[in-house]
């Protein structure tokens, strides 16, 4: 099928502004500035049904409409702190099509009447940050950024800001605190960022991919966009597939595409028989192979299957992988990334890891399984930000689907595989 989001990936020098313009870039921006009032753009994006691609799936246009009327300055922050294990789609867009992102940011900023936008990119993406900085400089030179953009009278500053190694900064309020020059502790909500965000001013935070979709919606219209995907999960989505498949990578598919189409037709099929699939990034509950045949990749179907679409990061885990070891590693990750502000997440992730570690190292007790579940229950919904909950998915789902393997590990004091 025709590519949109990835249309420039693989084109030589796709990150250069001339190449981008030569391929029709910045046309949507011109159209947006000429033909739309900001509010009309908000309505358009709302009509398109575009949902946040960072993981939570909140409708972008609705989020924009939460901005309090008449309060300025407003900020827009592009969340490029891609950190959910298994996810690497934003990196591909940033490195190969930085102008596509910038165009999306400018249009969205215009829609939200923002005068200063930021791209918060994770610190490890040094290459991506350099590409973005260069692209931003080029966009300034050509008048797509700065004062009076394309003669429209609209002004916008865009600043690329690097994180420095912290997963929790991908959480939108953690990101804001970090951008404010502080430790990336999430902030109290309410007030929500739309009313008091960056520097306590109204702020819109959208994921790279979300913003990347906007120019296409402007160019082709909401109806066109809704023509992709399902009724409740409209549009195009990038899926990053990794793990035990033959052709891991990023693929663009309409939402609602069958899981097995992604695995077999795009990712070249599994490299080992599938033991489990983590469908939306490491925090989403893993699924057993038997549900995969009928599973489609959209928000609703994955929720119905007991998991989440998340960031669209499909991790295929083949036979021969020790689930306990895998979950222990993820528990270690969440413990490492807990910011420490709230007790359930700080202490809970530490405890969960210690128990997993003990089981993995042959010191498990059968009662540990119920203990793990009870600790998960004690964290669930009680932590300050979603990180606490994110840590639970791998544990609860693995116990649900692989309890026997846990028991084997505990009783035999070794791996089943």
């Amino acid at each position: 099928m025709e590519k949109f989001l990835l249309r420039n990936v693989g084109v030589p020098n796709s990150h250069e502004i001339d190449v981008y313009i030569g391929r029709g870039g910045y046309q949507a921006l011109a159209k947006a500035l000429k033909e739309f009032e900001p509010q009309e753009l908000v309505n358009l994006v709302r009509e398109s049904g575009l949902r946040g691609r960072g993981g939570a799936g909140f409708p972008a246009g609705v989020k924009w409409s939460f901005l309090p009327k008449g309060v300025y300055p407003r900020y827009l922050v592009c969340n490029a702190d891609e950190g959910e294990p298994g996810t690497f789609k934003d990196r591909v867009l940033i490195e190969h099509d930085p102008h596509g992102l910038i165009e999306g940011i400018i249009i969205s900023s215009y829609a939200c009447e923002v005068e200063h936008a930021f791209i918060y990119i994770r610190g490890e993406y040094v290459f991506g940050a350099k590409r973005l900085e260069k692209a931003v400089a080029q966009a300034y030179e050509r008048g797509y950024l700065g004062r009076n953009i394309l003669g429209s009278g609209y002004d916008l500053e865009l600043t690329v800001h690097r994180g420095a190694g912290s997963y929790v900064c991908g959480e939108e309020t953690g990101l804001l605190t970090s951008l404010e020059g502080d430790r990336g502790h999430p902030k109290l909500k309410p007030p929500f960022p739309a009313s008091q965000g960056l520097y306590r001013k109204p702020t819109i935070i959208n994921n790279v991919e979300t913003l990347f979709n906007v120019p296409f919606i402007v160019e082709h219209g909401a109806e066109w966009y809704k023509g992709f995907g399902t009724e409740r999960s409209p549009g195009l989505k990038l899926f990053c597939i990794s793990g035990h498949v033959n052709k891991p990578g990023v693929y663009e598919l309409p939402l609602g595409t069958p899981m097995m189409t992604l695995i077999n037709d795009y990712a070249g099929g599994p490299s080992k028989p599938i033991k489990t699939v983590i469908p939306g990034g490491s925090s989403t509950p893993m699924l057993p192979p038997d549900v995969l045949e009928t599973l489609t990749l959209d928000y609703e179907a994955l929720a119905a299957a007991g998991s989440m679409l998340g960031s669209g990061a499909v991790i295929v885990v083949g036979e021969g992988t020790c689930i306990v070891r895998l979950v222990e590693r993820l528990a270690e990750f969440y413990r490492h990334e807990s910011c420490g502000k709230c007790i359930p997440c700080r202490e809970g992730t530490d405890w969960l890891y210690k128990i997993m570690h003990r089981i993995e190292h042959g010191q498990g007790r059968e009662e540990d399984i119920d203990l793990l579940l009870d600790i998960c229950d004690n964290i669930s919904g009680k932590s300050f930000c979603p990180l606490g909950d994110a840590a639970l998915g791998p544990i609860t789902s693995s116990i649900k689907h692989f309890r026997d393997e846990y028991l084997y590990h505990i009783r035999e004091r070794r791996c089943m595989v």
């Binding site: 430790r183 490492h336 420490g340 007790i343 359930p344 530490d350 009680k382 932590s383």
Partner: protein
């Protein structure tokens, strides 16, 4: 009035003002929801999650500390899910808590301990190894940190952020490794550090002074008032076995709001100092030797009588101090007037006539602009500094600093008027000039007259006189006039000396012009106002009544005594008279003029007879013929009147050591020996401060109706009459200069100094800096003086040997020498009554 909201909490209907949190709504009907990170004086944090409650129609549990009530909300604080969560949070904390409660100073007053007792798990499911972090290390000479006990509620950090505006502690690392610490290798250096102990919910931050001195439940808690500065912070004295173990802040929103400075909190060990005088001393063969009370009092009685008989009552006098209670001060002046028969009575550091108390603390805290004239709240009234910092930090309150020396509050950029000493009146007239010239003043009568009086002080000329740039002066004027609630505060030295009254007048003019409250004096002693109210001054009777015939007659009747009609001598005059041989005997109560008065030393040596009652053998006491051991503030009952005119009660917490007696009691006993009752004794002849207060309430009008009963624990403000407020002419007289001594001496107190009590408080005294003279780099360069050089500071009168501290904190042309750091009195450099002391600095 806020609209009210009605909601349901645990099946009870609760009505509270809109904007109340669920936590406080529950508290208002006595429903307890535990909290750790929440602290009512700090912005909500929401981190500990222990206050999670169930609210109908809301997904998941909600933090009660951050959720604001809404009409018809239905809250459950004890549902099975809430209780399970609460237990879980406590279990999470306990997984890595050291459980070293048996050796924890917080034991018995630890929130975590109490919460676990009420809601926690009864057994541990945690079998892993606990995390180990640093135990019991010194964050500073005063504070001990235990990282394992810390629950990371961030109260201490938030307090430093929001109140002290001095972020010396912060989180380090993250997640499970998070700890609260200082910058690597740097001690926690703040005069507000002790408050973090009070607000720490666990034993993570503890006091090195209190460490292992008692278990909290053994302590008897006695409400009292701090006896160090004029703020009058409310404190609790924690006592065990007749020893003061700890001082902590006591809630009183009208005063310190629970906060303390470290001096008030930690510097109390002087009470137990082995240097305390515990028995009367009498000079025999040139040496002070222990004696019985009978012997000492008889000797005092006999000698005073002799001298009065031989040289008349004018030849004796009494010098008190503003560090004693109202009751003691009242009895002292009564003793001098009725028993000795003279009005020669005064105290050290008396505030000049016309000085007015600070407006209430609430007004200071709510001000949107503060002018601090010749005062440094950090050194002289730290808790007020804390309030001002908070206001400047969180509300943007402007702080205009008029001071030749940079103080901490200049950091708020408010602006800083670094005037030349002696030019205060010109500066103030200049401010009035700008306000009038720019038409910024509030309407007022007689403005035209004032305009005329200040017409010679345009900004350019004021710049020439004061060295304050014209633009800075204009900015200050604008800031003052733009404020809705400006407060003017001045240091007592500003309104002393030959220009003092003119300065006061000019300050009053300024306040009137901008429609502000009367300017208030930052009184430095704990009872500066009270002792004046008690008549501890030659020209004032109790209630600040002037010494006219009518009052004298009325008072004489009440006191059943013939009161002297002759005007009395003030302290300066008494000491001069002593030098001249006209004053032969002095009775000194808790004052140290040998150190604190320019001629104290020489004058006292000339006396025929000197009696001193005090805690220590001060420089003054060493010159005495009889020394009487007096009680500390914790060993006697009484009241202080703070710098805002609030009368507050001190409760006796300790039995005095050995033969020590309260100041008031000594006076009563002496009077009796001398054959006169001066009242206020109980049938059993025990001194009764309560009865003294009853007498004061009858005699001193502002205190009318006051009693220990009515004072309660929070005290009562008394207002002494101020005069009618009107503009008046404030004449500026340029200070005389002396080419041989080109530098103007600026002196001031430091919070930590070598004054008698502080210098005898262990642990704290190591924080006292070495004596120094601060000199501007420009002057230092001219004089070829480098930082830390040994130098001599000399005036026409005397000289001091000090270390140079080269810093632009002091303006050029001035040097700053702190008081009470030296063995030598700094005041000896000054001519009594000179507007400016001129000195020179030479390298040794």
């Amino acid at each position: 009035m806020e609209p009210l909201v009605t909601l349901t909490i645990d099946d009870r209907e609760v009505t509270v003002p809109a904007g109340t949190t669920v936590l406080n709504a529950a508290k208002s009907v006595g429903i307890e929801i535990p909290t750790l990170c929440y602290y009512e004086k700090l912005a909500p944090f929401g981190g500990c999650r222990i206050c999670l409650v169930e609210i109908e129609k809301m997904r998941g549990l909600q933090t009660a500390c951050t959720t604001v009530v809404r009409p018809d909300m239905v809250v459950r604080t004890a549902s099975p899910e809430v209780l399970k969560t609460r237990k879980a949070i406590l279990e999470f904390l306990l997984t890595n808590h050291p459980l070293d409660c048996p050796v924890c100073d917080k034991g018995g007053e630890c929130d975590l301990q109490d919460f676990v007792f009420k809601w926690g798990p009864t057994e541990s499911r945690y079998i892993e190894e606990k995390r180990h972090k640093r135990k019991a290390y010194a964050l500073s000479p005063l504070i001990v940190k235990d990282e394992e006990r810390c629950v990371l509620c961030r109260r201490c950090v938030r307090y430093l952020e929001e109140w002290a505006d001095d972020l010396q502690l912060d989180y380090f690392e993250r997640g499970r490794l998070t700890r609260v610490d200082t910058f690597p290798g740097q001690p926690f250096d703040s005069v507000f550090s002790g408050n973090t102990i009070d607000i720490c919910p666990v034993g993570a931050l503890t006091s090195r002074v209190f460490r292992f001195r008692a278990r909290s439940w053994e302590l008897e808690k006695v409400p009292s008032v701090c006896a160090y500065c004029g703020v009058g912070c409310n404190i609790t004295l924690d006592v065990k076995t007749n020893k003061l173990r700890r001082i902590s802040g006591r809630e009183n929103p009208a005063v310190n709001d629970g906060w303390l400075c470290d001096k008030g909190r930690f510097a109390h060990q002087y009470i137990d100092s082995p240097e305390r005088i515990t028995r009367p001393l009498v000079r025999k063969d040139g040496e002070l030797r222990p004696a019985s009370w009978d012997e000492a009092l008889n000797l005092v009685s006999q000698r005073l009588r002799e001298i009065v008989r031989e040289s008349g009552p004018r030849s004796v006098g009494g010098v008190g101090s503003a560090t004693v209670t109202n009751e003691a001060a009242y009895l002292f002046q009564k003793f001098v007037r009725t028993v000795l028969g003279t009005n020669n009575v005064d105290h050290l550091g008396r505030l000049p006539d016309g000085a007015r108390p600070l407006p209430s603390m609430t007004e200071v805290r709510e001000a949107d602009a503060i002018l601090l004239f010749g005062a440094d709240t950090l050194e002289e009234a730290p808790v007020i500094e804390l309030f001002i910092r908070r206001a400047a930090n969180l509300k943007g309150t402007k702080v205009i600093v008029a001071n030749p020396r940079r103080i901490n509050l200049t950091r708020y950029g408010g602006p800083w008027l670094a005037y030349r000493p002696g030019t205060e009146v010109a500066l103030l007239n200049g401010l009035a000039h700008v306000i009038l010239a720019e038409g910024l003043h509030k309407e007022g009568r007689r403005v035209a007259e004032l305009k005329e009086w200040v017409k010679d002080y345009p900004p350019d000329k004021v710049e020439e006189i004061t060295a304050v740039p014209a633009e800075t002066l204009r900015e200050a004027a604008r800031v003052l006039t733009e404020a809705q609630k400006a407060v003017l505060i001045y240091g007592p030295d500003t309104v002393r000396g030959p220009n003092g009254q003119a300065c006061l007048t000019a300050l009053n003019n300024l306040a009137l012009l901008i429609g502000a409250h009367e300017p208030g004096c930052l009184a430095q002693e704990p009872n500066s106002w009270g002792v004046l109210d008690m008549g501890l001054a030659p020209h004032l009777y109790p209630g600040r009544q002037r010494l006219d015939d009518k009052v004298r007659e009325r008072l004489g009747k009440r006191w059943k005594a013939q009161l002297p009609s002759e005007a009395g001598l003030g302290l300066d005059e008494m000491l001069k008279a002593a030098l001249d041989g006209e004053l032969e005997a002095l009775y000194i109560m808790a004052a140290n003029p040998a150190m604190d008065h320019p001629i104290g030393d020489e004058a006292l040596e000339k006396l025929k007879f000197l009696v001193v009652q005090d805690l220590f053998l001060t420089e003054t006491a060493q010159l005495a013929d009889v020394v009487l051991p007096a009680a500390s503030f914790a060993e006697a009952d009484g009241t202080f009147t703070n710098m805002a005119g609030r009368v507050q009660r001190l409760h006796q917490a300790l039995r005095p050591l050995a033969e020590v007696k309260p100041h008031g009691q000594i006076i009563v006993d002496l009077a009796r020996v001398m054959g006169q009752e001066i009242g206020a004794t109980m049938p059993l002849e025990h001194y009764s401060p309560q009865a003294v207060m009853e007498e004061i309430a009858r005699v001193a009008a502002p205190y009318e109706g006051l009693s220990y009963g009515s004072l309660g624990d929070d005290g009562i403000p008394v207002t002494t009459e101020g005069g009618t407020r009107r503009f008046a002419q404030a004449d500026f007289r340029p200070p005389a200069t002396d080419a041989a001594y080109p530098l103007a001496l600026v002196t001031g107190r430091l919070l930590y100094d070598r004054s008698p009590l502080f210098a005898r408080s262990e642990i704290m005294r190591q924080l006292v800096p070495e004596p120094f003279v601060e000199i501007n780099p420009a002057d230092a360069e001219t004089l070829r003086i480098a930082d830390q050089d040994a130098v001599t500071v000399s005036s026409a009168r005397d000289s001091l040997e000090l270390r140079a501290r080269v810093s632009d904190d002091i303006r050029p042309g001035c040097v700053f020498v702190p008081l009470h750091l030296n063995e030598m009195p700094v005041v000896a450099l000054s001519e009594a009554g000179a507007a400016v002391t001129w000195v020179k600095v030479t390298k040794r």
